[in-house]
């Protein structure tokens, strides 16, 4: 197939994608439980008015005719009008007002990303392993791990405070032209720019500069993720081309340094950058919701968000349609760029699949022959598990509780409760009771703390013991693997050894692994790690009491936790602030300080880690299973099954992820699913639905390749059933590719969840969530209570950096030649 034929096919493919994507939108807004009429009437709801509106809007028509009407209008660009947020205003008018700001914002963020990200990446690639490379690479990685909304908050604060910090030497507001930090850009100069310029060149230029300055901080934030991506990919692409044989050949031909760099290196390095550059459209659209919210730029993202939370269905539909057109257009642009830039487009080059199979080992027999190494290992394991048996059973009990909770009617709830009580009674080494920190000063010494130490020290010891234990367990597990490898495995070498060895040689990946482990331990041991418990401090503060040493009465007093919380909030001013690593007035130690409502921030943060990681892992797991299953089916049967899946997945991928997430969360806001685990279950489901196409896409190639291998035909000829072939012969090979993609996407999900919670749509109270904590402390960032927003944001950045590094390690270990995964996925669609 020639390049242009291929391009044409891609363009034609986009027509069904637009239709299908719009249909999905219709299904979401009309089939969901959202009632447009009550959204319009709001509090003035009465049945007659409702019926009236229903007839006027054609909502009494049968659904299919509504659907045809909806589609017909959109595709003929009759975009309708707003019902709720600006009743009677046509969508055209609204777009005319809001779109220019978003375009202006997008324009500058693309400029920043392109003209900073790519040159930096190329520079780093040309000078690998130099200090400047390390600074640029590491900076880029951390930069893109920061959630946009958090970065925006921090930047707003920094810019507003610059004057104070520099003692008036430099204030952002008065620099060059007077502007506010947070404002929609004034774009009046854009109407008939030429005439205006001719009339008053100075004034026009000033307006231009003002508008640019107004948008610059937001553009910097919005461009940040893409900038980081472009840098990374630019760097690896240049590195790869430099080391390629054709560059060597060119050198041997006598090509000079400069011509080598421009003709042979940069030109080729641009190819992997194409999807990153066009992928920016996704990041920009998704990110605009957040950035426009924080910077008060009333653009399209902001408009969509408001339309969504107010249930303004026709406006949602129209905006969604426009977003789909933009994204599909970008995809066509991407294909066009590819077609121009890469002559191999449309050419199915055969890539070889390594044919490695592993032998099954009857392990038990081998252990029986040489039991000693296994026994030592098992004994150590028994000790490690034994000291924590109670805790392990508690987790089992807790899971049983959750499961029972999920089943309507809660059957067997009492049995589970008694079971939980029994498990709670088993003592464990690193539980709160063994190393207690919630004691008080009685005038002469601490009571009820570990060894009479101060609460801070006791808490620190407990944290240290927990981590020591966790790392001991991991060391034990690793040791087990090594023992197995040395003593019990029949073969000296399997392909998996290479994967493990490659990972062990990957310092960046190991760095990521350590961070990931740190957070996983935090999530697993959340109840033990906090200086206080969820129950006492956050959920039921008025059911518990706390004793403390009162300076006034010089005696030990008792107060309800809830009341103590009222006196320990962090709300900016000096005496209304409990900073990290300090005690509050009630002798309670707060490692990360307190939140605005006086509740312990550390406790919330560790439980936040629990929910974030759970959502990310479970959602990716489900999406991965769907993607894997579909990949097997489409690769095995090909033809129609493949085509249909391509269509569906392309359509889902053409939807702006963040917008769909917002929309779905709004739609299901008042349903029972939303109640489960404070929204986590719903979020997991939504993420699985939205993410499986990405996974399927990334493993479709390997699945197709493996399905063409001879051993598949051999398996078929032995009379194995299709499911057997898929499960035994295809899935294991494809699975590792799925693992690469999934591990690179986890960070993105964590950022997205935090972003949605920041908007008030994600995880709701009382379950703590990082994004909500950031929102909680947003207005105090410039005050002494800066820790509330800062700490969760830093933790997100850290864990996402860790996850991405870990993902890189896994990718390089599993397949050193693998394409760099989907970069957009690693940045949470712009949140």
């Amino acid at each position: 197939m020639s390049r242009w034929q291929y391009f044409l096919r891609r363009v034609l493919m986009s027509i069904p994608v637009v239709i299908f994507g719009t249909t999905i939108t219709f299904a979401l807004i009309r089939l969901g439980p959202l009632d447009p009429v009550s959204a319009i009437l709001g509090t003035q709801y009465n049945p007659q008015a409702a019926e009236q509106i229903r007839t006027n809007l054609g909502l009494n028509q049968p659904l299919w005719s509504q659907y045809l009407d909806f589609m017909y209008r959109l595709f003929t660009f009759q975009l309708g009008q707003s019902w709720v947020i600006a009743p009677g205003t046509t969508a055209y008018e609204l777009i005319e007002i809001y779109a220019p700001r978003t375009i202006w914002l997008g324009f500058w963020s693309v400029v920043i990303a392109l003209f900073v990200g790519i040159p930096l990446g190329f520079y780093a690639g040309l000078n690998p392993n130099t200090p400047s490379d390390y600074v640029a690479s590491f900076g880029g990685i951390v930069w893109r791990a920061m959630p946009n909304f958090w970065l925006a908050i921090m930047l707003v604060t920094a810019l507003s405070q610059l004057g104070t910090w520099t003692n008036g030497l430099f204030t952002w507001q008065t620099w060059i032209v007077r502007t506010n930090v947070v404002t929609p850009p004034a774009l009046g100069f854009f109407q008939s720019p030429v005439e205006q310029f001719l009339e008053d060149p100075g004034g026009w230029t000033e307006s231009f500069i003002r508008a640019t300055k107004q948008i610059a901080p937001a553009a910097l934030v919005l461009g940040s993720a893409s900038m980081g991506n472009e840098m990374r990919i630019g760097r690896t692409a240049v590195l790869e081309t430099i080391n390629s044989n054709y560059v060597e050949t060119a050198r041997a031909k006598g090509v000079s340094g400069r011509s080598l760099v421009w003709k042979h290196i940069f030109r080729n390095a641009l190819i992997p950058l194409v999807p990153i550059i066009t992928g920016e459209a996704f990041l920009l659209l998704g990110g605009s919701v957040f950035v426009e919210t924080v910077f008060a730029i009333n653009g399209l993202g902001w408009l969509f968000f408001n339309a969504a939370i107010n249930g303004d269905l026709p406006l949602i539909g129209t905006l969604m349609f426009i977003f789909i057109l933009i994204l599909v257009g970008t995809n066509i642009l991407q294909d066009f760029l590819y077609t121009i830039i890469d002559p191999r487009v449309g050419y199915d080059g055969g890539i070889t699949v390594s044919t490695t199979t592993e032998t099954e080992i009857p392990l038990r027999q081998r252990v029986a022959e040489n039991p000693q190494p296994a026994l030592i290992w098992a004994a150590v394991g028994a000790v490690l598990i034994g000291v924590e048996l109670g805790a392990i059973l508690q987790v089992v009990g807790a899971i049983a509780g959750v499961v029972v909770n999920l089943i309507p009617g809660d059957p067997g709830a009492s049995a589970v409760q008694s079971l939980q009580a029994a498990f709670d009674a088993i003592p464990t080494l690193i539980s709160r009771d063994v190393i207690p920190n919630q004691g008080y000063w009685n005038g002469t010494g601490y009571e009820n703390t570990f060894l009479g130490l101060s609460p801070a020290v006791a808490w620190a010891i407990r944290v240290a013991v927990v981590y020591a234990y966790a790392f001991a367990v991991l060391a034990w597990a690793w040791n087990g693997y090594k023992r197995f490898r040395r003593h019990y495995r029949r073969v000296d070498w399997t392909p998996r050894d290479d994967v493990v060895n490659r990972f062990r040689g990957h310092s960046w990946g190991k760095f990521g692994l350590i961070i990931v482990i740190t957070f996983v331990v935090m999530a697993v041991f959340a109840p033990t790690l906090g200086p206080t418990t969820m129950e006492q401090n956050i959920l039921q503060p008025y059911d518990y009491e706390v004793s403390y040493w009162s300076e006034d009465t010089q005696s030990v007093e008792t107060v309800l936790v809830g009341e103590a919380n009222l006196g320990s909030g962090s709300q900016g001013a000096g005496d209304e602030n409990v900073a990290p690593l300090t005690y509050d007035d009630f002798g309670r130690f707060h490692p990360f300080g307190t939140a605005t409502n006086g509740k312990d921030l550390f406790t919330q943060v560790v439980f936040g880690a629990r929910i974030s990681l759970t959502i990310a892992v479970v959602a990716m797991g489900i999406a991965g299973l769907i993607g894997l299953a579909l990949a097997m089916i489409t690769a095995y049967y090909k033809g129609l099954a493949d085509l249909a899946t391509v269509l569906v997945s392309d359509s889902i991928q053409a939807l702006p992820v963040i917008m769909v997430l917002i929309l779905m969360l709004v739609i299901f806001q008042n349903t029972w699913v939303r109640e489960l685990y404070d929204g986590a279950v719903l979020i997991i489901l939504i993420f699985s639905i939205v993410y499986w196409p990405f996974i399927w896409r990334s493993i479709r190639g390997p699945a197709l390749q493996v399905s063409e291998q001879d051993w598949i035909d051999a398996a078929k000829s032995f009379g194995q059933t299709p499911t057997q072939v898929m499960r035994k012969h295809m899935a294991p090979y494809v699975f590792s590719y799925m693992l690469i993609y999934a591990s690179l996407s986890l960070g993105g999900i964590i950022i997205s969840v935090a972003g949605l919670s920041y908007l008030g749509l994600g995880i709701t109270a009382p379950t703590p969530e990082w994004g909500r904590l950031i929102a909680n402390g947003q207005q105090y960032v410039a005050s002494p209570s800066w820790h509330i927003s800062l700490v969760p944001g830093l933790l997100i950045t850290l864990v996402v950096t860790g996850l991405n590094a870990f993902g890189d390690g896994i990718r390089d270990a599993i397949d050193p030649q693998a394409d760099t995964g989907d970069e957009a996925a690693a940045t949470g669609g712009g949140a």
């Binding site: 050949t249 041997a252 031909k253 006598g254 090509v255 002559p343 191999r344």
Partner: protein, 359 residues
């Protein structure tokens, strides 16, 4: 090229390329690897010199050193590379660029990746023509087509406008050779040019190289680890082991009476070279050691079936294996054959002391 023709070239006049005591080292974090450690050999016009040796013995580094394409952390530390009476190591980067591709051309191992995928084959040949012969436009295109025809690519008019991925593996290697020949080089360095190809295509490429050599009186340095290929194409063979040339002889001589125990092992490991069952080394056991220090012993000693005490204390230098053989040298304490063992060892001991660094 016939062997007589080549050996006659050998006796008359200057060599085209003469390498003297070349040492190239890599300064890695852990150690200094002497990938090429004090090798010397000549290549004459119209002659094909084969370099054989196991993986990691330093063949590619030798080739790269000649092209001055050794990259960080590698460094050419010692020796001379005399080409046309001038030392390439004294050339400026600019002079070197015009030599690369102009007088000395190189063909790499993997034809599938040696061509830049985003430019047409013609474009890449024309790049060389422009650089070295100042040709451009339709003239260059015409020349490129002729070159493609010369290396046996059918329908060259059309092919010249095609991209590398539209070529088969064998055709790509032909295109790479055409590119190397674009500027009429005098010396062609081939680093395992046929390893990535299947056997029939391999034979075709070898044939092509022989034809081209005859037409253009090329000197060819041919790197491979395939003894069969060497037997077919080379006039003279240098056997490399751990950065050193351990034996050097005309091809027939080498195959008929290999002298160095390593060469003997290599030849025995080819199936069909029947030797007595107990004398046979199915493969040579062990790996090539990494040469990371000044040699004061025989680097092959740990694997050598004939090793004796002195092998661990004396570094063998290249010596004529005996009076009878013509131009046949080996670096092994067993030689010269006609001397008693002690005297032979003494020759090596002295030879080792005399050699000094030139740079």
């Amino acid at each position: 090229m016939s062997t007589e023709q080549a050996s006659s070239a050998r006796t008359e006049g200057e060599p085209l390329l003469s390498i003297e005591n070349l040492r190239t080292s890599f300064y890695t974090d852990k150690e200094v690897i002497r990938a090429v450690d004090g090798i010397s050999f000549d290549i004459f016009r119209g002659e094909t010199v084969g370099i054989v040796g196991e993986s990691g013995s330093g063949k590619s580094v030798t080739a790269r050193s000649i092209m001055r394409l050794v990259e960080k952390p590698g460094r050419i530390e010692n020796g001379r590379i005399m080409y046309d009476g001038e030392d390439l190591l004294d050339k400026s980067p600019k002079q070197m660029r015009s030599i690369r591709g102009g007088s000395i051309a190189m063909v790499f191992q993997d034809p599938l990746t040696s061509l830049n995928p985003v430019y047409t084959v013609g474009n890449q040949i024309k790049e060389a023509l422009r650089l070295h012969r100042g040709l451009s436009g339709s003239k260059a295109t015409k020349e490129a087509i002729e070159l493609l025809e010369a290396v046996g690519i059918p329908d060259a008019h059309r092919r010249v406008r095609e991209y590398p991925h539209q070529f088969s593996g064998g055709m790509r290697q032909r295109a790479v050779i055409a590119m190397a020949l674009a500027c009429d080089p005098e010396l062609l360095i081939c680093d395992e040019p046929t390893t990535a190809l299947d056997v029939t295509i391999q034979a075709q490429i070898l044939e092509l190289l022989e034809e081209l050599q005859e037409e253009r009186d090329l000197g060819i340095m041919f790197i491979t680890h395939d003894m069969g290929v060497i037997a077919e194409i080379a006039d003279r063979v240098n056997v490399m082991y751990a950065g050193e040339i351990v034996e050097s002889a005309p091809v027939v001589e080498l195959f008929e009476s290999p002298k160095h125990p390593y060469t003997q092992g290599l030849l025995n490991s080819i199936p069909g070279q029947g030797l007595d069952e107990d004398e046979r080394l199915a493969t040579i056991e062990g790996d090539v050691p990494t040469p990371n220090e000044d040699p004061t012993y025989c680097r092959f000693a740990p694997r050598c079936p004939k090793a004796f005490a002195e092998c661990d204390t004396v570094h063998p230098v290249p010596v004529d294996v005996g009076d009878s053989a013509d131009d046949h040298r080996a670096s092994c304490l067993l030689y010269p054959e006609d001397l008693p063992s002690e005297e032979a060892v003494a020759v090596h001991r002295e030879g080792g002391q005399r050699g000094g660094d030139t740079r």
